[in-house]
Amino acid sequence: MTPDYMEQGMLLAIVLFCLGFVGLMIRRNVIFMLLSIEIMLNAAGLAFIVSGARWANADGQVMFIFILAMTAAEVSVGLALALKIFQKYKTLDSDAINRMKG
Amino acid sequence: MLSILESIWIVFIRLFSKKITVEYPDEQFRLPPRYRGRIVLTRDPDGGERCVGCYLCAVACPVDCIALQATEDENGRRYPEFFRINFSRCIYCGFCEEACPTYAIQLIPDFEMSEYLRSNMVYEKEDLLIDGEGKYHGYNYWRVSGMAIGGKDKGESEREDPPIDIKSLLP
């Protein structure tokens, strides 16, 4: 194994994070926005794993597990809200939902 | 919880019980005599048709698979001109047998009635009529009910009791 993986792993994390961010910015569907956030969080998790591997300690994995827990909590609330919003507005377009302005 | 285990155990021990499956074509199965299979028309001990064409069977039939036309011979004795059962309709319920006042129509334990042509499932009187008395031996309707003969009505001949007056309830 070459230690080069660290660089590459971090690179991968950055690319994924940016992809998630692009997704968040270009999609107007609430479900897709949540998905993009998942991508970003997962990229952060990858970054932690890579860092943990670099320093050969368990901290990275522990943080990853915490991220998992947080994601689960967040997604459950987010999807519940999305469902309610769909029931109410019959759409998931974040622009259409955006009633409060100013 | 225990009941679940119990039911599992009960099912499990069936493994060792005798199988009731009969491998039919290889191994023939003896049906009980009262099995309700193919429908036949029987004859009375005299060899005459028992059927008097009363239509009760046709009425009783829930799927209307029985068709007949009553007629009379020169003696005034009723018989079906034709008697037709569509077995592709028949459900072998046995109502016709119960309805028949003369034990003419009877169900027998024969069930192997497969045909390639559906029209072959329509049995005419010739196909239905058998040469025996079926389940009820020695029963002759006409003997029991009596019959009007030339000049004499029912119960008026010798050694005949008058018919029961069904309008009276007295014994």
């Binding site: 940016c18 910015m25 270009i26 670099r54 522990v62 990853f64 997604v75 | -």
Partner: protein, 176 residues
């Protein structure tokens, strides 16, 4: 191993790109799941076997299922797909994508100029060690995560609870 790493990295990136550009939510999710599985392989190669397993079990196996579950309940029809297609015309995503590309390039550049890391090879961090850390050093963190999940649970329960409308009895609303 090297091949496996690059392959899975490539798959992860490609699947993610596909995931954020699909019109259909389920398809996007499927690509995302592929991406997550590829990432799990990366984790595995990085010596984080435990995390790799959790990635599949919880991320791909539970959270994404939750997503699919929600999408199934939403019953988005063809109209939604059409609408997504309209939304995703190039001019919508070119600018954000470019901006983010710049960001990514910058980060990658930063990564590149800081020189190779000094650690030597990948060391396998066994689950037992992760567990020991979790329930030793990070025990309070685990408790906090538990409360975090509780908050999520209570929240999702409250928001998702359905309201039964009883029109009959003096138009009262009744909670189920």
């Amino acid at each position: 191993m090297e091949v496996a790493f690059y392959l899975s990295a490539l798959i992860a990136v490609a699947a993610t790109v596909l995931a954020i550009t699909r019109y259909h939510a389920v398809h996007a999710l499927l690509f995302l799941i592929v991406s997550l599985l590829a990432l799990a392989v990366v984790f595995f190669i990085m010596g984080a076997h435990f995390a790799a397993a959790l990635e599949v079990i919880i991320y791909a196996g539970a959270i994404m299922v939750l997503f699919i579950f929600a999408i199934m309940m939403l019953n988005l029809g063809k109209a939604t797909i059409e609408w997504e297609r309209q939304l995703l015309r190039p001019r919508v995503w070119v600018l954000p994508a470019l901006l983010t590309l710049v960001l990514a390039a910058e980060l990658i550049y930063l990564l590149a100029i800081r020189g190779g890391p000094e650690s030597s090879g990948i060391e396998l961090v066994r689950p037992a060690r992760v567990g020991a850390e979790l329930f030793g050093f990070y025990i309070l963190g685990v408790e906090m995560a538990a409360f975090l999940l509780m908050a999520g649970l209570v929240g999702a329960y409250h928001i998702g609870r359905r309201e039964k409308k009883v029109i009959h009895r003096y138009l009262k609303k009744e909670e189920v």
